[in-house]
Symmetry: C2
Subunit: 345 residues, 2 copies
DNA sequence: GCTCTTTGCTTAAACGATTAAGCAATCTTT
DNA sequence: AAAGATTGCTTAATCGTTTAAGCAAAGAGC
């Protein structure tokens, strides 16, 4: 029943030496500090007897580094972020870092809160999936000289390190895939957001359609609020189906949107892909279970997560590191939901 | 460009007072410590000018409490745990606690590592979803007098606080539901594990069938390894379908198993529920997307997560708290995958 | 035998906060 | 006016570690 944690002092007392000596021994600095062999052995012996575990608080206070990273995401219960979080956790652990995760719910105020709490807890650096209207926060971190790297989303107008997807090419690829598969009226469901990654996805989609025979029609683009996904997705799909030129294919800009939309398409009794072809961003087990496996844009999750950690840790080691602005490509995994259309005419 | 963080000392210097005074003021102890009004105002003024943010490391080192909880789960990328994690995070934050999450991958060694890392980081207490063969770790925490509460899984032979599901009644309920729906040969896919919650699920299922006309047949029970889910689920389903009395309904003991199993059932071209009825533990968006909405056992996630945090925090406030051993009930959400069978004979 | 180096340890400051104890100066009381 | 109480602050110890600096004893060099 060890009531109290054992400290350096306890070991020092029991060994009849100073805490400095114990510290040297337990940190493997015996050589540099010329510690006697027998005494070193005895210290180690006593340390293990007392089951000594160093207090990281004290270490950190002294060293000024906590070996802790803050990870700010929208919502850990969203599978995309949960996956990212797991990869970040593992990569951090490999480098002896611990991660503290915070969910911002895409809310700028909550994001501020999280950043402040984590700064107070002295994290060494941040990995941030930015929410809308958080440019100010990013600027603040830059000014305060706090290390961070943006993940998945970045601000083109702020010079920062980032690791993200090439969203334009991903969306373009999705649009092209459908057009080449014989679909002419391709809809797109996105979030109503000024976040660059979302604008890029929309831009990629629009460009792909503009390059097609049928062109792009604004009626085919639906933008929904973060806070009211289910209702607005339904309304959007209704509109796109009732348009002058009704859509025969639909791209979802995120996994969440796809889940919501596919449920509704089920309810409507529409047949995928005959009535409506589907492509979605982000992989998900759910897509495998769908009666018609869903074509999706596979993001290099592992690479995104690992790279962001590595970029950050390198920056912590050497603050003079050059800017790292990394874009990765998505891979389109074609399945039945977007199979080549058999033309009737 | 504040290069350095501002500390109490900086404020004290600028105000021409001692750090003690500053500490009293900023902690609202002016009354008890009889601090002059103007000087208090000045200190506050300077603190906000310098954008003072207290160093939690120092606070914690002094107070012996970090206001940090460790949450140990199997895998944050599993939606069940991700959900739990989010709820725990929110409830903790309400009480001014921060959570550090660690994924053990159901591996006892990794679990030990996590516990040790978090102890070194001086977390105030743990919320633990135990992996198999971690009884020793739990006993260690008890002996060291470290606060913790078990979540979702517990060990009947170790006296601890816990918050979990009544797994026996949940599985029993699932079995009964299918039997009453006219299914006679009900299979069960579980993990091969000595973990009590899994044994209870199996026991509940077996008892439900034993109480039915057709009784229970060992061939209908498949247990698969954590590490080889996909292959063993397939093999198990093959066996249960080829049994002397082939199954006409199937219960999955977890969400992961269901995803794996449903994929295979799709591949086999079996029709749910006509060829095979389905009930699964755990809700998931994926179940909504399935062509035939899946009947599932809804766990009171919110209550589980919140209660575990509350139990732990109460224990931290008052270590003499009595044992809290809380079992919650699952709700069966009946959908088409288990609809009442139209008997042919 | 005297200085110089090396060996093997200790002392003490520092990280940033909290807080019990102490000490003048002023105010109250009788 | 003397004693006691109150006010408004400071001093210094403390939490557990690290690490530069110091110091005594032993060994080396001449």
């Amino acid at each position: 029943m060890n009531k109290k944690k054992t400290s350096l002092k306890d070991i020092a007392q029991k060994a009849g030496v100073s805490t400095a000596l114990v510290s040297y021994v337990l940190n493997g600095k015996e050589k540099e500090s010329r510690v006697g062999e027998e005494i070193a052995a005895r210290v180690r012996q006593i340390a293990s007897e007392l089951n000594y575990q160093p207090n990281y608080l004290a270490k950190s206070l002294r060293s000024g580094r906590t070996r802790t990273l803050g990870l700010i995401i929208a919502d850990i219960s969203n599978p995309f972020f949960a996956n990212i979080a797991r990869i970040v956790e593992d990569e951090a652990k490999k480098n002896d870092y611990t991660v503290i995760i915070g969910s911002s719910d895409e809310d700028a105020d909550k994001s501020w809160d999280l950043i402040n709490v984590l700064i107070n807890r002295q994290v060494d650096g941040f990995i941030i999936v930015s929410s809308e209207h958080t440019e100010e926060q990013i600027q603040y971190l830059k000014n305060r000289n706090i290390a961070f790297v943006l993940l998945d989303r970045y601000f083109p107008d702020i010079d920062t390190d980032y690791v993200a997807l090439d969203n334009y090419q991903a969306a373009y690829q999705a649009g092209l895939h459908l057009v080449e598969g014989g679909y002419r009226h391709v809809g797109f469901v996105a979030y109503r957001s000024q976040l660059f990654h979302m604008r890029e996805r929309i831009r990629g989609y629009v460009d792909a359609l503009r390059g097609s025979e049928a062109g792009f029609c604004p009626e085919w683009l639906t933008e929904v609020e973060f806070t009211n996904v289910d209702l607005e997705v339904r309304a959007g799909i209704d509109l796109m189906l009732a348009a002058e030129k009704p859509i025969d294919a639909l791209i979802f800009a995120t996994y969440r949107l796809a889940i919501s939309g596919l449920k509704y398409i089920n309810e409507l009794g529409l047949n995928v892909p005959d009535d409506l072809a589907i492509v979605s961003f982000g992989q998900a087990e759910a897509f495998d279970l769908y009666y018609c496996p869903v074509t999706y844009l596979q993001q290099p999750m592992e690479a995104l997560g690992k790279t962001s950690v590595d970029v950050l840790i390198n920056k912590l080691k050497d603050s003079q590191q050059e800017r790292k602005q990394i874009l990765m490509e998505a891979t389109l995994i074609a399945r039945n939901s977007s199979k080549i259309k058999v033309l009737v005419d």
